[in-house]
């Protein structure tokens, strides 16, 4: 019997930064440019084959930009093995919520690995967030790296998710 490991990961970020699109690209490998805000939480699963067996990533895709102090948010974060924080490269204020999310995650689990994603890298001309800004904020919040992703083109999406899976397995 092959080993089966289940891990819950959360996807956090401001409104319309592309969380659901990233999950769709990662899980179903497709992109849809219609925007439909997520209400509450949407859970998807991605099965990854590993050397030891099978890793089931259960991705909890949360409502964007919700008030961090609400208890609904807190209960959704319980038991998460890791989190992906997503900002929109074309809107600098989408970085502002990172600190709050990171604090919440660390409150529940101080050792939880966090991965920072700067999405919409395909919109080159509209980019307003620099690499330096991303470096500094990910360092400040205890992240090890960040990825410039595009759910539209698929750039670095799978790499980022798999990197988080690696970090989770290391911590475990």
């Amino acid at each position: 019997m092959t080993t089966l490991i289940q891990k819950k990961i959360c996807l956090l970020g401001d409104f319309a930064v592309g969380k659901t699109s990233l999950v769709r690209r990662f899980v179903e490998d497709r992109f849809d440019d219609k925007y439909l805000g997520t209400i509450g939480v949407k859970i998807s699963r991605k099965v990854i084959t590993r050397s030891y067996g099978q890793l089931n990533l259960l991705v909890w895709d949360m409502t964007g930009g919700e008030d961090l102090d609400t208890k609904v948010r807190m209960s959704y974060l319980h038991g998460a093995a890791g989190a992906l924080m997503v900002c929109d490269l074309t809107r600098s204020y989408t970085l502002d919520v990172f600190e709050g999310y990171a604090r919440q995650m660390r409150t529940l689990n101080p050792r939880v690995p966090l991965m920072f994603l700067a999405n919409k890298v395909d919109l080159v001309n509209e980019r307003v967030i620099s690499d330096e800004q991303l470096w500094s904020i990910s360092k400040a919040l205890g992240g090890q790296s960040f990825y410039l992703t595009s759910a539209k083109s698929g750039e670095s999406v799978e790499t980022a998710f798999l990197h988080l899976a690696d970090l989770i397995e290391e911590k475990a």
Partner: protein, 502 residues
């Protein structure tokens, strides 16, 4: 400041003749007048300019009007070409309006919706039926489900009330057919079935164990458990209002329900159809508690690695088996058991029959085994006993006279006289004392039977006769010597009881 000197000057020329002031004024006002003249010229210039502009503006306005008219004509002309170009934009605009102002659109479209549906039904009835069928079907199904549930509850209640001999017999017969009583009750009352059982870790929603009746593992169980957990959290946070005790304990969807029983670190979710039997929730509670006792720490520390938890599926299967459908688990009695039961029943019936016979026989022979001194008891006994007993009776049995055609009862061994149901008419031969008993020793009651009084002879005892006659003070009765009575009709020999006990 300038006005003051001016006033002074103006008030000055009140005199007449050569006025030096005029020349002074002329000198002083020369500049002013010159200024005024310049101003007038300027104004004239402006006036002319304005007139010119006015004309030019009018001209321009006329030009614009002409252009507008031309445009209007052009639009009218190009209307047909424009519509196809505008149509897609209109679609987007309507879509946008619906998205942005739903309420207003609903308000606007509401009144025509009914009419539109009516027209559509009239024009393409089949399409509408196909479109509406899923909704109507589901609604009807739900209504029937509700009704069935109510009915089942009623039947349950009735079953509880109607435990009686009839119910007992039914259970006995069911048992003979191989169905245990408890399951018979279940089958009658509830089409209850367990579809799936989940054991889920609190918070993370990770699946700890899962049971499905079929051998194959159902897909998406991990997603279901995660989503169920999110739903529970959502309900708890939204409606729990901080009360830690309250939790979502049931979810209903169509005819299926998810019953949730929470433990400390994990909760049990059972997907069922029908109405759960009494005590099902407490059984779930027991199971959750048991599993927490044995694996509570494992549940708490579980981080998604399936190798760290024991296989709990068999434990969940036990719960499912306990409430499984009757047909699936009922073991009918074996042929041998049935035969044994039949023989046992037959032997039982024979034994009961023998016991009855023995009892009857004992009762019949009891008087013979323990004869009584008082023969008077005999007729009583014989009246109970049937003729079969008579056959076995010894010849000394004195019941025979009772069955004589005269119906005369045998006088008892004591003074008890025989009683003649058909009295014989007679007359008193003389005045005679009437005694209470057929004996001289008895007390005289100072009753005298007058001569020629009509009497009825009730019974005869030796030389004595019991007579009855109508006296002044009512019906009198007593014993007199037979010689004082003259019978008016003959007495047959067999009517006289021969026995006389001294």
């Amino acid at each position: 400041m300038e006005k003051a000197p001016k006033d002074t000057i103006n008030t000055g020329p009140t005199g007449d003749g050569i006025n030096p002031l005029d020349s002074i004024r002329a000198i002083l006002l020369a500049d002013v007048q010159e200024g005024l003249g310049a101003l007038e010229r300027q104004i004239d210039g402006l006036q002319r300019q304005t007139d010119t502009d006015k004309v030019s503006l009018q001209q321009q306005l006329e030009d614009i009007l002409v252009e507008l008219e031309q445009l209007r004509k052009k639009i009218q002309k190009d209307a047909e070409e424009l519509i196809p170009r505008v149509a897609p934009e209109l679609g987007n605009m309507i879509g946008g309006a619906i998205r942005d102002s739903r309420d207003e659109m609903a308000e606007a479209l509401g009144p025509v919706m009914g009419e539109a549906i009516r027209v559509q039904i009239r024009n393409s009835r089949k399409d509408m039926i196909e479109a509406l069928f899923p909704i109507i079907g589901e609604t009807v199904q739900r209504a029937i489900g509700e009704f069935a549930k109510e009915l089942q509850r009623n039947i349950d209640a009735q079953l509880r009330r109607s435990i009686g001999p009839q119910g007992f017999l039914r259970i006995v017969f069911a048992r003979l057919r191989g169905i245990p009583a408890s399951q018979l009750t279940l089958r009658d009352a509830l089409p209850f079935a367990i579809r799936e059982i989940f054991l889920i870790q609190h918070g993370s929603g990770l699946l700890l164990a899962h049971y499905h009746p079929s051998k194959d593992e159902a897909p998406d169980t991990d997603l279901i458990s995660a989503m169920l957990t999110a739903t529970r959290d959502f309900v708890h946070d939204s409606f729990g209002q901080g009360e830690a005790e309250n939790e979502l304990d049931e979810v209903q969807y169509g005819d299926q329900r998810i019953i949730i029983q929470s433990g400390r670190t994990a909760y049990l979710a059972v997907v069922i159809t029908g109405v759960e039997p009494e005590g099902f929730r407490s059984r779930m509670h027991t199971l959750v508690s048991e599993m927490h006792v044995s694996h509570g720490i494992v549940f708490k520390r579980y981080n998604g690695d399936s190798t760290t938890i024991p296989n709990l599926r068999p434990k969940l299967a036990i719960l499912a088996d306990e409430y499984a459908d009757v047909e699936e688990v009922a073991e009918p009695l074996s042929r041998g058991t049935k035969l044994a039961l039949a023989i046992g029943s037959l032997l039982g019936i024979i034994l009961v029959g023998l016991a009855c016979f023995y009892l009857q026989f004992t009762i019949a022979l009891f008087p013979l085994a323990f004869p009584s001194d008082t023969p008077i008891a005999m007729p009583t006994a014989t009246s109970v006993s049937t003729l079969t007993a008579t056959e076995t009776s010894p010849p000394t049995f004195t019941a025979t006279p009772i069955f004589t055609p005269t119906d005369t009862f045998t006088p008892a061994a004591t003074f008890t006289p025989s009683f003649t149901p058909t009295p014989i008419m007679a007359v008193a031969a003389g005045n005679v004392w009437v005694r209470p008993e057929p004996d001289y020793s008895g007390d005289l009651r100072f009753t005298v039977l007058r001569r020629n009084t009509s009497v009825r002879v009730l019974s005869v005892y030796g030389l004595w006769m019991e007579v009855e006659w109508q006296a002044e003070n009512g019906l009198q009765r007593g014993w007199v010597l037979a010689e004082w009575i003259t019978l008016l009709e003959p007495v047959l020999a067999d009517q006289i009881t021969p026995t006389q006990i001294p």
